[in-house]
Amino acid sequence: MNAAATPPLLEARDLSRLFPVRSSGGLFRARQMQRAVDRVSLSIRAGEVLALVGESGSGKTTLGRMLLGLTAPSEGVILYKGMDIAAQSGEAARNFRREVQVVFQDTGGSLNPRRTIGQSVALPLTYHRGLERGAASAEVDALLDQVGLPPAHFRHRLPHELSGGQRQRVGIARALASNPALIIADEPVSALDVSVRAQILRLMFDLQRERRLSYLFITHDLGVVRAMADRVMVMHQGRVVESGDADAVLNAPRDAYTQRLLAATPVPDPSRQRNPH
């Protein structure tokens, strides 16, 4: 793997997010700060899939929000294509916004319930690519086709009329609308039925190949990591405890927490039970 040849697409250095502990502090005492994300560094190259693994409280969601520019970091710097996104203004900042997109976990909540599918997917087209109605409309159809939702049928539907898997496809179509280079997917399949998960992951894989996308998968599901990721970072209480090649880390974890995570994951094979019942 040519490591030094291409500069990373997205890079984070010593990223931290602090928040005040509620019970501390008062009128004259300083509040104590807790680190939801504690000095995390990472990098993603073009075409690469990085997985961020952790349980609740690990800070992975907060980290994802910082990388999307939705939450400001308390410390550290985020570089997109070599430029500090906090320092950017105007053109550069807009480029970052356009090229880094998101797919959320909660398919019900990530789509405005009052907007039709077509309108939701068209949002980035209007705001990021400045397309007019007619051109946007054609593009929306193309995107819906690409994710496996026949436009004629789905354009005018409202989110609550679709199943979870279908809504997730819409989320993916919306993420693709601005022609991103990197998609951050926060638990994209956790809320879906088992038989639908493979469909969505397969779709994301195909899209990645076609468009040379990078992915940052934020997940707690090691199965997703094994299936999709090139590299993995394991987070625990705001810190990265282990990182490296996905197969290597999951087959031979060195950190105690990673080992615990692997041991706790149920295996669908009754003959290989560690806890005899």
Partner: protein, 295 residues
């Protein structure tokens, strides 16, 4: 791939209040609501066509008999100055509805702007706006209106301004709560990532989803405004150039027993109008939040 499978999901909590299949049905479910709506429609009709349905000048000037009871010539009788009560009641709707609707509208505009800004941005802006709102809210509405009008004189415009200034805080607080909750939604995050600016997000993504309580409070505010206007007029602080039900009640004080029609009809008008707006507001609340769904 892809047949459509429509999931049997329940009606969404934050949703499309009007496109909701059951909205009209739920709204018109109770007969009282239908009656109230019909009454209000009638009222608007009368306000618009006032000169057409009345034969006499409400401000008097004719030579009808004084204190004449109900008769074919004067449907609702005449008052102590010989003015036709029916004409005065009908013309009175204009002032009541104008003040009621306009002040509620102004209160909604100010309240929505303040509440949306406070709820979306939080921080010092929120603190500032809410302190201002709280200040206005602690003032007893009617007493302050009384003082303001007494100090600055009276006119329809001044009444609208004063009443609106006293009504906006409650709306602002409700809007702030709705907006603050919705601003945490993932679809708002998604809109930001999709490139929408703050203003666009507030106007196009958040407010439409917060419309329900605004509509309900707005209609209740209309009722309250009409009541305040009537009260001010009763105390002689209304606009003397316009006919007002409250002023009519003031005039009728001495004749409560001898000419009951002078007080009964304007009183009835006020009561029914306020009641109708309250009923409609209540029904809108039920219709927009089916089965107590609210997020």
């Amino acid at each position: 791939m892809s047949e459509v499978t429509l999931t049997p999901d329940a009606v969404p909590a934050v949703g499309t209040p009007f496109r909701n299949a059951g909205f009209r049905r739920r709204l018109l479910r109770r007969p009282t609501t239908v009656l109230a709506l019909a009454f209000l429609l009638l009222l608007f009709g009368l306000a618009v066509c006032a000169p057409l349905v009345t034969a006499y000048d409400p401000l008097g000037g004719g030579d009808s008999a004084l204190l004449e009871p109900l008769s074919p010539g004067h449907w609702l009788g005449t008052d102590d100055l010989g003015r036709d009560i029916w004409a005065r009641v009908v013309h009175g709707t204009r002032i009541s509805l104008t003040v009621g609707v306009m002040s509620a509208l102004c209160a909604v505009v100010v309240g929505v702007i303040a509440g949306a800004l406070a709820g979306y941005f939080g921080g010092w802006l929120d603190a500032l706006l809410m302190r201002i709102a709280e200040f206005f809210q602690t003032l007893p509405r009617f007493v302050v209106a009384l003082i303001m009008i007494a100090l600055f004189g009276t006119s329809v415009l001044k009444m609208i301004v004063v009443i609106a200034a006293l009504s906006w805080p409650q709306l602002a607080r409700v809007v702030r709560a709705s907006v603050a909750a919705l601003a945490q939604s993932q679809f708002v995050d998604a809109a930001r990532v999709a490139g929408m600016g703050h203003g666009a997000i507030i106007v196009r993504e958040i407010l439409p989803n917060a419309a329900a309580p605004i509509i309900v409070l707005g209609s209740l505010d209309i009722a309250m405004a009409i009541l305040i206007e009537a009260s001010l007029s009763f105390f002689g602080l209304g606009d003397p150039n316009h006919v007002s039900w409250g002023a009519m009640l003031n005039d009728a004080q001495q004749y409560l027993r001898s000419a009951w029609w002078m007080s009964a009809f304007p009183g009835l008008a006020i009561a029914l109008t306020v009641l109708s707006f309250n009923i409609v507001g209540d029904a809108l609340n039920d219709a927009l939040n089916p089965r107590g769904n609210s997020k």
